[in-house]
C-alpha cells in the first residue's frame, strides 16, 4: 500500500478520523506522518484534518449546480489572494477576503458547519463601532498630515471595512 500523501513510500501508519459520522481511512508513510504532525498521537489537531473537512465540503460543492458557486477568477483587492489560490491552500489571505469571496464562502461555510451565521453567548465586544471609527479617522488625518500615504491608505481600508461589516 502506498502513502496517500506522497504517493511514493509504502504506507505503514494507518490513521482514521471520523467526521460527521463519515469514516476516513488514511494510510501514510512515517516521513509524511512526521511532516504533517501525525506521528505523535498526542500532537495538536493536525492541519490535515482541516484539509479533510474542507475537502469533504468541496466534494459536495462539486455535486451542486454551477450557478450556486461562482467559478469566476476573482482576486482580493487587499491581499491579492486569487480564488484559485484560496482553493489550493484552503486559507484566506485577510479579513477582506471574507467580503471578496462572500458568495462562495456562504456555500463553503454551510457545507463545513451546516450553518453560515455566528451564534455566541457573549455580547461584550472591544470598542464600539462609532468610537473605533472616530479613533481611526483621527489616525488617518495625522497620517495625511505627515504625508505617510501608505499608512493612510491602510487606515482608510480599515474604516471602510468596519462601516460595511458591523
Amino acid at each position: 500500500m502506498i502513502c496517500q500523501i506522497c504517493n511514493k513510500n509504502p504506507a505503514n501508519i494507518f490513521f482514521t478520523i471520523i467526521v460527521n459520522n463519515a469514516k476516513r481511512e488514511i494510510r501514510i508513510c512515517k516521513k509524511c506522518a512526521d511532516e504533517k504532525g501525525l506521528a505523535n498521537p498526542l500532537g495538536g489537531i493536525p492541519f490535515i484534518i482541516g484539509e479533510i473537512i474542507f475537502g469533504m465540503a468541496e466534494e459536495k460543492i462539486k455535486e451542486m449546480d454551477d450557478s450556486q458557486v461562482s467559478q469566476k477568477d476573482i482576486k482580493c483587492e487587499k491581499c491579492g489572494l486569487t480564488y484559485k489560490k484560496f482553493k489550493e491552500s484552503k486559507l484566506l489571505g485577510c479579513e477582506l477576503c471574507y467580503e471578496t469571496f462572500k458568495q462562495d464562502l456562504k456555500v463553503i461555510l454551510r457545507r463545513i458547519h451546516g450553518n453560515n451565521r455566528h451564534i455566541t453567548a457573549e455580547t461584550k465586544n472591544s470598542l464600539s463601532k462609532d468610537k473605533e471609527i472616530l479613533k481611526l479617522k483621527k489616525e488617518l488625518n495625522e497620517a495625511i498630515k505627515k504625508e505617510e500615504f501608505e499608512k493612510a491608505a491602510h487606515i482608510r481600508d480599515k474604516i471602510k471595512f468596519i462601516e460595511k461589516n458591523e
Partner: protein, 353 residues
C-alpha cells in the same frame, strides 16, 4: 518577562498539566481548548508581510506587558531559535509542526506550568491555548477566557456579527474555538468495540482521531476527540457537547475494562507483565514500541495489576523520551539508535516497578 528566555530552561521540568490528577484521569489524559483570532487590518499569515507580522508581535507584547499575566509569562521569538528547539516545543504541545516549519516572524508566550500559551503568527495571528489534566473543560475555559479578554481590550480582533471571528481557514470561522481531549482506550480497542461505539454513540459534528487498524495498539491506544463545528454554535454549547461526549467515552471504556477483566483476565495480566519485563530489561526502545508498551503499563496501573507506579510518571515519560527531548537532555544531536538506547535508560531510571 524574560526577553532572553532560553528553551533550555524547560529541560528536566515537565508541564504541570501532565500531573495525572484531574477528573477521570485514568481514561482522559488531558483537556485542551484553543481559540483562533486575527487582528483587524493586518493580512493573515497566508499572505504574509513581515513588517505587519512584527507589528502584530509588538502589539500583543504590549497587551501582555500591561496585564497581570506579565509576571508569569515567558516570551520566545520562534524565528530566532534552532530547529531542534522548535521541535522540542512541538513535542511539548506548545507549537504545531506547521508552525515549526514556517520561516516568517512568529513568537510564543508560555504561561506558568504551561497551562496556557499564546502563539503569534501561526496559521492565524493568535492561537491561544489552555490545557488541563484529566477531564476539566471548565478550568480550561475559565483560563483561556481571561487571556482572551485581556487581549480583546488591547487589540482589535477581526470580527463581524454575522460570521464571528474571522479566521484564515473557514473550518475555524465563528467561535474560532476547538475543544478537545486525549483519551486512552485500551479496553475499547482490546474488546474490539471501537467501531460499534463510534457508530452508536458519537453524534455528528464530532471528530475522532486515532491510530488503529493492522497493528491495533501501535500508537498507544490514544485517541483525540474534538468539536468540528465552530459556526452557528455558541462557546457554551460546544463545551457542553464535548463534555457529554467525553462522559460517553469514559463510561464505555470503563465497561470495556470490566468486560476484559471478567473474561480475559489472564491475557490482560500477561500483556501488562510482558510490557513490564521489556521496559525493565531492553537496551534499545524505539519510540513507537514505547507508546505501545506504555499503553499496557498504564492499563496495568489503572487495573491495579501494577501498584507502585504513579500515573504522573507515565504521562511525563510520554513527553520526555521523544526525539528532541532526548537530544536536548543529552545536549547534542543523536542518531536514531543512540536515541533508542538513551530512551531505554531514561525509562529504567524513571519507572519504579
Amino acid at each position: 518577562m524574560n526577553e532572553l528566555f532560553d528553551v533550555n530552561k524547560f529541560i528536566g521540568k515537565s508541564s504541570k498539566w501532565l500531573n495525572g490528577n484531574g477528573k477521570n484521569s485514568d481514561i482522559i489524559i488531558s483537556t485542551r481548548i484553543r481559540l483562533a483570532r486575527n487582528l483587524r487590518g493586518f493580512r493573515f499569515t497566508n499572505c504574509p508581510v513581515n513588517k505587519e507580522l512584527e507589528e502584530i508581535i509588538d502589539s500583543v507584547k504590549k497587551a501582555i506587558v500591561n496585564s497581570d499575566f506579565i509576571n508569569e509569562m515567558e516570551f520566545i521569538k520562534l524565528h530566532s531559535i534552532s530547529d531542534l528547539d522548535r521541535e522540542f516545543l512541538v513535542e511539548r504541545h506548545l507549537i504545531s509542526p506547521f508552525c515549526a516549519k514556517m520561516n516568517t516572524p512568529r513568537a510564543i508566550f508560555i504561561g506558568k506550568g504551561e497551562f496556557y500559551s499564546i502563539v503569534i503568527n501561526e496559521e492565524d495571528h493568535l492561537r491561544i491555548q489552555s490545557i488541563q489534566s484529566g477531564l476539566d473543560v471548565e478550568n480550561a475555559w475559565e483560563n483561556i477566557k481571561k487571556i482572551d479578554d485581556v487581549l480583546k481590550e488591547n487589540v482589535r480582533y477581526a470580527y463581524t456579527d454575522e460570521l464571528g471571528y474571522l479566521t484564515a481557514c473557514p473550518t475555524n470561522t465563528g467561535t474560532g474555538m476547538r475543544v478537545s481531549f486525549f483519551c486512552h482506550l485500551p479496553g475499547i480497542v482490546l474488546t474490539k468495540r471501537l467501531e460499534e461505539f463510534l457508530d452508536k454513540w458519537i453524534p455528528a459534528g464530532i471528530t475522532v482521531r486515532g491510530f488503529y487498524g493492522e497493528g491495533t495498539d501501535a500508537m498507544g491506544n490514544i485517541f483525540q476527540v474534538s468539536n468540528q463545528i465552530t459556526l452557528g454554535i455558541s462557546e457554551k454549547d460546544t463545551i457542553a457537547k464535548i463534555k457529554n461526549v467525553a462522559k460517553r467515552f469514559v463510561q464505555f471504556e470503563k465497561e470495556s475494562r470490566e468486560k476484559l477483566m471478567n473474561e480475559d483476565r489472564i491475557q490482560v495480566e500477561d500483556k501488562v507483565e510482558r510490557a513490564k519485563a521489556i521496559l525493565q530489561n531492553a537496551k534499545i526502545i524505539p519510540s513507537l514500541e514505547f507508546m505501545s508498551l506504555l499503553s499496557a503499563i498504564r492499563l496495568g496501573v489503572d487495573l491495579k495489576i501494577l501498584k507502585r507506579i504513579q500515573r504522573k510518571i507515565l504521562n511525563e515519560l510520554m513527553i520526555i523520551v521523544q526525539p528532541a527531548h532526548i537530544q536536548k537532555f543529552k545536549g547534542k544531536k543523536l542518531n536514531e539508535l543512540e536515541r533508542d538506547i538513551l530512551r531505554a535508560e531514561i525509562i529504567k531510571s524513571k519507572i519504579n516497578f
